[in-house]
């Protein structure tokens, strides 16, 4: 299990064996139920127990805004900000020839199909700022350019609340080269 080292594992194992109540059984049932009922949303790739996930079916959210992320788990921090009230699309990874991942291994065809059908006004690319993230962003830009949408990408730069002196030099460099006009 991720995040659990040998010492924690030993303590958990002992607790399971020695627990007085039936908490371990509850947890076991909860894990089994989760495995059975939670699956990727067929539209956006986020987690859902229903036909379509809570974000895709929420009619109060803007239906003309789409945010593209690498992984379904990237949606969680974005949702916590409450800054984005549109739809998501998770690719399930990024184009990475060194890991033998190509466009056909990702949900890119599904993305193009959604852009064709759902009439978005803006598509925001929120991929990582490393080499593979950049390349995947470029690939998507070429693919989505023909559509009458505004294509944007998220900014990278200074962490909020941080002074210049606390930022590392690479971050500062990116913040400077990605500066915005006032």
């Amino acid at each position: 299990m991720p995040g659990i080292g040998p010492r924690s594992a030993e303590r958990i194992a002992l607790w399971i064996v020695q627990a007085r109540g039936d908490q371990p059984e509850h947890i076991a049932r909860a894990i089994a139920a989760t495995r059975e009922s939670v699956r990727p949303c067929p539209r956006c790739g986020f987690f859902t127990m229903e036909e379509i996930c809570g974000i895709c079916s929420d009619t109060t959210r803007a239906a003309d805004l789409l945010c593209v992320v690498e992984q379904a788990t990237d949606i969680l921090p974005l949702e916590k900000t409450s800054a984005f009230r549109g739809r998501y699309h998770s690719l399930g990874g990024r184009i990475s020839p060194l890991d033998h991942v190509g466009p056909d291994d990702l949900r890119i065809k599904e993305l193009v199909a959604r852009v064709e059908q759902e009439k978005f006004s803006e598509v925001i690319l929120a991929l990582a700022a490393d080499v593979e993230g950049e390349a995947t962003t470029n690939y998507l830009v070429e693919l989505l350019k023909p559509f009458p949408i505004s294509l944007t990408r998220i900014a990278h730069g200074l962490p909020a609340g941080g002074g210049l002196e606390s930022a590392d030099e690479l971050t500062l460099y990116q913040a400077l080269s990605g500066r915005t006009k006032l």
């Binding site: 184009i95 593979e132 950049e134 390349a135 995947t136 470029n138 690939y139 070429e142 590392d168």
Partner: protein, 349 residues
């Protein structure tokens, strides 16, 4: 200065602790006793990379999973633990998430008998020479190099696939061009700064008035994007990226002639020393910090004239770790503790 150094499961050493003096420290022993490994440990501790191998996996002692080095320099305690899965660095006993504070503490210049490859060998040796220096004076150098190499390797993997897909290759053009242009710029400036220092160092140690010139030989023109565009057919045929900083080189000329073709072995050794002294002078003049000098198996091999010239022109403020098989060559005035290595044991005399 590096006051002390501890090694655990590093190359042939299970466990070793050493205390150094300022100035010269000598390591004497037959071949294969681990003299170079002690110098390498000092380099890995200060720079988190080895002066002699590209990866750290081979540094782990045979049969072990990880190594650790630690030591004290300028009153800061540095510690580096490496295993193939995890690297941990601590600065004054506080684990660090970024390398910046840690890498600020120590600079290294390595002199080795194999430095003649800088003149004789392929261009990779000369790029490594620039990269080893660049990573020590510009915190952006290493991340830029890493990103460029990652973009290059990805792009080459795409070009090598049985059915190259132009759209995917093109997606890697932008990161290749962006990081490549930054890397070229950094290397151009490095060679510009090195050139006068190397020429001066060469005058100092050659003693014969021959002029050394070094020039950057970039692997692409200033119009990198156009070069890449123009090389499409060639790269599809050769199945690799054929222009870019991975083809950078340094041209080395003695008296206007290419040193790899026209210089004698003695002249080539002098040029190699001049290039390394130039590195240490960059730290002295522009960083105002004397680097740690690692001098591996050089003094015993040089003729007395070059040896004396080298001794005179090494920065006197620098601490020096020196290996040799014997001490017979030692001149008057070169004082320092002698560590004798025998059967993995180190005895200080």
């Amino acid at each position: 200065m590096l006051a002390d150094l501890q090694l655990r499961n590093f190359r042939c050493f299970e466990s070793l602790g050493l205390e150094f003096a300022p100035g010269f420290n000598f390591f004497i022993g037959r071949n294969g006793q681990g003299k170079t490994s002690i110098l390498e440990a000092a380099c890995v501790l200060l720079r988190l990379q080895s002066q002699r191998s590209a990866t750290l996996g081979s540094v782990v002692r045979f049969g072990q999973k990880s190594f650790a080095v630690s030591g004290r320099r300028e009153n800061h305690r540095l510690e580096f633990r490496y295993s193939p899965l995890r690297r941990k660095i601590a600065f004054d006993d506080v684990e660090q998430r970024t390398l910046e504070d840690y890498l600020r503490i120590g600079r290294v210049v390595s002199f080795a008998n194999t430095d003649i490859e800088l003149i004789r060998g392929g261009s990779e040796a000369r790029r490594r020479y620039l990269d080893f220096l660049g990573a020590q004076i510009d915190p952006l150098y290493r991340p830029t190099l890493r990103s460029y190499e990652r973009a290059l390797r990805s792009r080459n993997a795409l070009l090598k696939s049985s059915q190259p897909r132009p759209r995917e290759i093109a997606a890697y053009d932008a990161p290749l061009l962006e990081h490549g242009a930054r890397l070229s710029g950094m290397r151009t400036r490095l060679v510009e700064r090195l050139a006068p220092l190397a020429a001066a160092a060469h005058r100092d140690i050659s003693g014969n008035g021959e002029a050394l010139q070094i020039r950057f030989g970039p692997g692409n023109s200033e119009e990198f994007a156009r070069d890449l565009e123009n090389s499409r057919a060639r790269e599809l045929r050769l199945r690799q990226t054929v222009v870019g900083p991975h083809r950078d080189d340094i041209e080395i000329l003695v008296e206007g002639q290419l040193a790899n073709q026209y210089a004698s072995e003695g002249q080539q050794r002098t040029v190699a020393l001049a290039l390394k002294i130039a590195q240490s002078r960059i730290f002295m003049t522009e960083e105002a910090a004397p680097p740690l000098l690692l001098i591996d198996d050089i003094f015993g091999e040089l003729d007395p004239v070059r040896r004396n010239a080298l001794l005179q022109h090494l920065p006197p403020e620098s601490q020096k770790l020196v290996t040799a098989t014997t001490m017979q060559w030692r001149e008057e005035g070169v004082e320092g503790p002698i560590f004798e290595l025998h059967d993995r044991q180190v005895i200080r005399r």
